[in-house]
Symmetry: C2
Subunit: 279 residues, 2 copies
């Protein structure tokens, strides 16, 4: 496996890097960003995965999310994968919410998507192996977070892999693709009409089907235009209550869906993850 | 004068806004970003001007610079103007370092640039009037900073307007357009071959010609690829020494020219400005 460094810049005392590698899961080159705090070379650092939202590449969070100072302070490696396969040979859709930039962290089963859109395998299996092999990381201390479609990704990846992540958080997550237009469109396209197959990609359904997380931190802006039509935080809160889970859901007055919201609270989240990753 | 709000988002407890207005200086609509910390409506806040570098619009610093938390903490309004006039009727050059995105904060005298490229008047006269009229700002407490071409802008605007700014800083500034290829190309194009007319736009020449600043803070990355061929920080240091000025010039080991560098030290600069603006 060849891993190619595309760029690196010193930032907040650590190194913000961009890497590319050939993915066997997607059959394409995949690019990801990684922030590596300064550390002793004998030291293995905890890892915080960041899954991004619709339209994003590896770059959006890297330049907008303001995680670097906090990750430098707490000594946490922060990884931003891309949100879909890329390239001229990869099928696409002209809409912003399907195809490239909108992989929804699923393994597609429908044509023409099945060949490349294997983002679940990429995020759950392949990229962790790449990261573990290339960087000074302690894979026994992983956390996961994300924004919007990436919040959906963080919750569902963590719910499906009990014990892998010591900490799980999300910003403005799509909590139930089964119950919103974004999810309906994307999962119909990638997975087909049998909605039973969608449940593994729906945090509410996963909890209904028995998955549990010991704790979850969610920030959600009350002025988020997508809160009512798409995100529906209350569905997650309800499912947790019925399951006896007690997530921390903070409804943030006045905040919208943008990275201006995420960047406001990311240092809080990094500190929250750090407490659990470094305990 | 009509001022139109294009967007606003709550961020770090303040409001990150984008505004557009018709500029009489440039003859075009001009767009700027402003971060307005939460404050009592009876309170007028100090202002920190941020002049951006080559290729930037009002947006680059707004999303990359990480100034918002610090400005919210210190109660400082942070303004990011555009770097040139824009629009289909505005002349341009295909190069990144001349024409749109590269106004160099001068009043052009050469055709076809003279009609629109009046960025000195825009930044020194027009935009301050717009800002003073529209926002809760205390124009007796202004600071100025900027990056690269915008560092050149900050230094020269402040040197030409003694007493207007209580604080002046810069990141990786072009200190002497008279002595670097970027400056040579741009000022020849905008001002013509008589290099005497360039001196008002050259921080080193302004100091040689008698301008003074009580203090200046400069951060410059040692790994900046433009340090030797274009930025030439030592020319500014030498001019200051000959003039009896004592700037604080911090050569930052390992840092490059990007916003990863700027974002690392911007909170330092905001705090430094705040000390002077709130004294």
């Amino acid at each position: 496996m060849t891993l190619e460094k595309l760029s690196e810049s010193l930032c907040h005392g650590g190194s913000q890097q961009v890497w590319r590698h050939q993915s066997s899961a997607t059959g394409t080159p995949m690019t990801f960003a990684v922030f590596r705090p300064e550390h002793r070379t004998t030291e293995k650092l905890p890892v915080l995965w960041w899954l991004s939202g619709l339209t994003c590449t590896h770059e959006n969070a890297m330049i907008k999310c303001e995680y670097k100072a906090a990750c430098a302070e707490h000594g946490i490696v922060f990884i931003c994968p891309d949100t879909s396969p890329r390239g001229e040979d990869v099928p696409d859709d002209e809409a912003y919410d399907f195809g490239k930039g909108a992989g929804f962290y699923v393994n597609a089963t429908q044509e023409p998507w099945a060949r490349n859109f294997q983002m679940r395998t990429y995020i759950e299996d392949e990229l962790p192996q790449v990261v573990a092999g290339a960087f000074d990381v302690d894979m026994d201390r992983q956390g996961i977070s994300g924004h919007s479609m990436g919040g959906h990704g963080a919750l569902t990846v963590s719910l499906r892999n009990p014990g892998r992540f010591r900490s799980t958080s999300a910003f403005a997550p799509i909590v139930s693709p089964l119950n919103c237009p974004w999810g309906d469109k994307a999962l119909t396209g990638y997975l087909g009409d049998n909605r039973d197959t969608w449940r593994q990609y729906d945090s509410v359904a996963l909890i209904e089907d028995g998955a549990r997380l010991p704790e979850v931190l969610i920030d959600q802006g009350r002025a988020d235009e997508w809160l009512e039509p798409q995100l529906k935080t209350h569905l997650f809160a309800d499912a947790c209550r019925r399951a006896g889970m007690e997530p921390t859901i903070r409804m943030q007055e006045g905040y919208d869906h943008s990275y201006f919201f995420v960047s406001t609270f990311i240092a809080d989240h990094v500190a929250w993850h750090a407490e659990r990753l470094k305990a």
